[in-house]
Amino acid sequence: MGYGSQSQEVTVTAGGTAAVEFRLEVSAIDLDEIVVTGTAGAVERRKIGVALASVNVADISETTPVDGFSQVLEGRIPGVRSIGTVGGVGASRELRIRGTDSFTLGQRPVIYIDGIRVDQYGGEWGGIGSSTCCAFSGGAGEDRLSDLNPDEIDRIEVLKGPAAATLYGSEASGGVIQIFTKKGRNNSAANFSLSTSVGFNRHRENFPTHLRTNFVTADGFHPLEPNRDLIENGLINSYDLTVDGGGEAVTYFVSGGFSYEEGSIKPNDQKRGNLRVNLNWAASDKLTIGVTSGYSRNRIWALQSGNNWLGIYTNALLSNPFNATADEPYGGGLDVSVEDSKAIQTYSDTDRWTGSVQLTYNARPNFTHKATMGLDAVNDQKTRNLPFGRHYTYIGQNGERNIGYRNVRKFTGDYLGTLDYENFLGITGSFAFGAQGYWDVESLSMATGKDFAGTGVTTVGGAARTFGDERFEEDINIGFFAQNRFDFGNLFVTGAVRMDGNSAFGTNYGFQVYPKADAAYNLPQDVLPGAMSSLKLRAAIGMAGKAPGAFDQFQTYTPNTVLDDIAGVSPDNPGNDKLEPENKLEYELGFDMGLWNNRVGVDATYWHAKTQNALLEIDLPPSEGFSDGQLRNVGEILNHGVELAVNTTVLDRSEFRWNVGVNYEWNKNEILNLGESAVQDSLPIYENGELVRWDYHKRIGGNWEGLPIGEIITRGIIGWDAANRTHLRSTYSFYQGQFYPDQMASINSDFSIGQSLRLAVQFRGEWGASMGNSDRSYGVRQFAYDELLKHLGPNGESTPASDSVRNYMQLVTPTDSRDNIRLQELSLTYTLPETLSGWLGLQRSTVTLAGYNLYWWDHCNCPDPNQNYQGGTSFGNSPFLGLPQPRRFLLSFRTRF
């Protein structure tokens, strides 16, 4: 919710002054808002024909302590899924827009900060020889988006798909997120802002191990119970100080921040420091120079969790309480004690600088040149130390040390020319043209030392066996674009085209062309029905792409070590010199409507996107040699859906104001075509344990035409064989669900009492996704979970019921629903009386008590239906002990002076 723009005519005599009074009118829709993302140059929202979402972070943080970039996007924009999937502090998160649009390429949108593409990696490091290292912390990895300090962010604009993101070319088919950092204002005195928070993380005590307290081992030992003994309060503490202002020609924004956060299962913490200086200098009436410079230091002690023998949570939960001893009080876990897991030191230590220079030259009032150049430089060092003398399953007892360096350089260069014209041949509009290039280099080097002689030495070189490996990727893209918008009164029609060349395209493939068109029609006030105060109809169609991996086009053989440590090679990638980008053609239809003087804003969109030339890994028969499949542009994927956002001021009295926003999204994903290499196959349909018929589909690997990407097809239990006391498992695998939810909704409610109290609540829900709940299978098979323990006799002896449960979990991985409704945010903000803050020498000052991820309702037989051990970039089937998100409680103080 915001305030609408208003106008009044007033006559001012020469040298005189005039006073005009406005009463701020609440507005749920603002078609005069200026946006810059997705269109060449700044433009009012009413002139664009696409659904463009924006989040005003500065406004949100006034009432809600925001301590992470991804948290800002949670439940605020329909079509954008931003959720925590792994509970460790600093761990990777899911961030995806409008579903799954690729079989093989990443799903994260491309992210810009002040016009510069930035590293948004979230996951473990891949492509390194397995002897050299590992998944450092169990599959989730750290999230480079956690480097960002939300207190530096002014607003975020989100393009949800190709219809809006065409001008971003060969990496924009998954959407674009543009982050704008804060700037100073001209002729403004220094304005200081201080915010500080203190609080704690704490897991909900719903781990499935409560019944362990009922049992005592044969030796009389009382086993530890994770809910009671593993969960702790994890301290949160943060400080941010900013100052902004400006004179006639120069504006500035300077900020510094530090945050410290511990996980609820320890050791796990994150220390982050951020510095930023943004300057803007109007060098002349035509030339403006802007400089942004942001530095962050982010040191994460990563939590060992997930699909990982070394996980703390893993070993605590999968311990058999009847094996508990004083040395292994939980019961031993996966042959690693919790104490030994906790002794592992796992760090990610990142230095990052992101900066840009922006030159804007107004050659004429209607002709502007804008050039932007910038760099995102990330140096990430990871270390893992498994101390000598402790026991780590396959690693043994002699210790291991892993170190790794990941260096990323992303250079962006961008030129935009904008020519506005009026009555040119009778037509008014705006023409823009430009070019954009980027050059990405990522290098990764790692070393491992295995087998130490004793304690005291923890450097790689001190180990008896050492290993090293490197990985390198380089990707260069050059794109040109032109756009023209015609203004026909209330109708705005835009056409544009972008042409890209990319180093990852096959050598026999040339440039890729991406066209787009959109139209926005703002209905005149006089034709609108009584209650309707504004209505914009919009339609857009556009194409954007996703480039293949940097070296996917080459046929390659991997060097390896064979026989007596000598050099060998093995065939891996068959290559494809005709590789093209994946192209996604999307159209969308929608409207932005204001009702009752814009007290209610409705934003509705139907979108339909087809990924063409989707890259599929076409496996070759093993007898044809190459271990990798051949990437070919053969697939077609359909995503379509409906997005609805309704914002309204339910109550607007002088002492009470209640704003409510409802977001809803429905989406459907379907594989349309897998190309000529797909083979005909069949899926059985079981009813009441009987195979009643077959459905026929073409398939390649785990992808089936007519089904969504990311489906669960596995064998299930179809009955009970009483004679042999065993469950009956289906002979064939059958369809049991999909990974990704097809419905998401959120409600944001904001209730103010007077000027001093404000209560904000967010609920959000997801429906339609399932998981292969392997945790249950492991937990039962390991004699660890309540699901089995509740059927055991008083001394732990097996019963027919416990045998039945074990038998079930030996035969299948059960499929459980990920449906859930979650109380995501609850915050109460108190604004100090002006007399008090004034007495203290302060301006507006607030105190906020907030809670996040407080409670959720589900029926997934798991601690958290959002659990996913691989973290953000690979949301999929398996929770695999990926530690649920903790609840967060914060007390914040924010003031200006």
């Binding site: 030259y361 399953t393 070019a435 053989y557 007596d564 028969p621 007898s623 040699g625 002979t731 030996q810």
Partner: protein, 434 residues
């Protein structure tokens, strides 16, 4: 800005556009992998890669064969191990598929290497080159292991599935070719390895005289091993051995036979109760990774770099003994002379010459168990002598019923799915069962 200045901006922009249109700017190269052209200058690495590819899956092969036989039981958390141990798997759902697929890739790589050597070296030179001998040996042994393990397989790239005996017959042909090439190249160790492999292939085909003849040509103390190194480690150790991930251990039936005295840690000979140093085991009262089962560990392989014997002279002696006993002449005395010599080599008392076939078979099998312990041979014996019913029947384990238990693995379903000559259909693919 002056007109001159504007021209400067425009010129710079045009120059940038022209430069950016240049193709070279969009050219990158992958420094971490070889191209096919690179390999023409690296022929030894190609030959080593072929042989190494055969070796590197031997550890997985041994584990899966041990789980399907009466050697190992699952003691960890992996349902894939559990399925094989309990004999619950079917076509398309077992982990030996990956090993079969790796062998098929190795065979393709061997054929591609042969073409490369002929092209780069010339056919005349290549035919007598040690690298060609190395590749021919690996190709022959690959077919031998495919025939030992799965009930059917394509005999050539994207070819139709043929029976295990057809693959073994092809192995005999390829190993014969390997012997010829190795001989011409002056590589006697390859000749012996190929001949030892051919001896086993002939044995499995029931060609006792050819098997005995080949076996006799392999001298004592010869061994050809799958080599493991610092990068390619032996997962029998990392995944199933004491103080590592104890995901599989010796079956419960062997526990009473394990000498737990501090000095030996050997399994006892079933006939004399003497500790047999060929069967090195380990038990310290540990509970395995499944949180339940005592872990009785193999200890024949004790480091990640421990090599796994593939063919060796003691197995050859036992092939000779088997041919004497069961090749038509029933020469039990001759067979026992060989067996007792092998026993004497490790300090075990001799066994008497049996008077009946069953006892002779018992002695032969127990010697083969000891000499080829954890080499993936036991399951081959249970299959070829049709012993799965007896062995698992004697275990009388309700969780491991005999009826319906697979006695050999089915082929890789990925090959069947993608190979147009093979039908990916559970109902037509073979999977022998008890």
């Amino acid at each position: 800005m002056s007109i001159k200045g504007r021209r400067g901006v425009i010129s710079a922009a045009v120059l940038a556009l022209v430069l950016s249109a240049c193709n070279d700017i969009l050219t990158v190269s992958d420094p971490q992998r070889y191209t096919s052209e690179d390999l023409d200058q690296a022929l030894p690495a190609v030959a080593n890669g072929v042989e190494g590819a055969l070796h590197e899956v031997m550890d997985s092969y041994v584990i899966y064969q041990a789980l399907l036989s009466d050697v190992y039981q699952h003691t960890g958390t992996w349902i894939q191990y559990d399925e094989i141990d309990h004999g619950r798997f079917q076509y398309g759902t077992h982990s030996m598929e990956g090993v079969h697929a790796a062998w098929l890739r190795t065979r393709w790589f061997a054929e591609s290497a042969e073409e490369r050597f002929n092209r780069v070296l010339g056919e005349g030179v290549a035919a007598n080159d040690p690298l060609m001998a190395q590749v021919h040996l690996a190709a022959g042994l690959t077919d031998l292991y495919i025939g030992m393990t799965v009930c059917e397989s394509p005999a050539a790239s994207s070819g139709p599935a043929v029976s295990d005996n057809a693959i073994l017959t092809q192995a005999v042909e390829k190993l014969t070719r390997a012997m010829q090439t190795a001989s011409a190249a002056g590589k006697p160790e390859y000749v012996r390895a190929a001949q030892a492999g051919r001896a086993r292939a002939n044995l499995l085909l029931g060609n006792y005289s050819a098997a005995a003849s080949d076996a006799a040509a392999v001298p004592d103390a010869f061994s050809y091993v799958a080599k493991f190194n610092n990068q390619s480690t032996n997962s029998i150790v990392t995944l199933t051995t004491a103080n590592r991930n104890e995901a599989a251990g010796l079956r419960e039936k062997w526990w009473p036979m394990i000498d737990e005295s501090a000095t030996s840690n050997y399994m006892r000979d079933p006939h004399t109760n003497e500790p047999d140093p060929r069967i090195q085991v380990w038990y310290q009262g540990e509970i395995a990774t499944d949180n339940l089962t005592p872990h009785y560990s193999q200890y024949k392989y004790d480091t990640e770099q421990s090599d796994i014997p593939m063919v060796h002279s003691s197995e050859m002696r036992l092939i000779q003994a088997e041919a004497m006993a069961f090749g038509g002449s029933s020469d039990y005395a001759g067979a026992m002379a060989i067996i007792n010599q092998l026993r004497a080599n490790v300090g075990l008392s001799p066994l008497p010459v049996p008077t009946d076939q069953a006892t002779m078979m018992d002695y032969l099998l127990s010697e083969r168990f000891a000499e080829t312990f954890m080499e993936g041979i036991r399951m081959v014996d249970l299959y070829r002598f049709n012993l799965v019913d007896d062995v698992f029947g004697a275990m009388n384990d309700p969780e491991r019923p005999v009826s319906g238990r697979p006695t050999k693995f089915s082929m890789d379903s990925g090959e069947a799915l993608l190979n147009p000559e093979i039908q990916d259909d559970l109902s037509v693919r073979c999977l022998p069962r008890a």
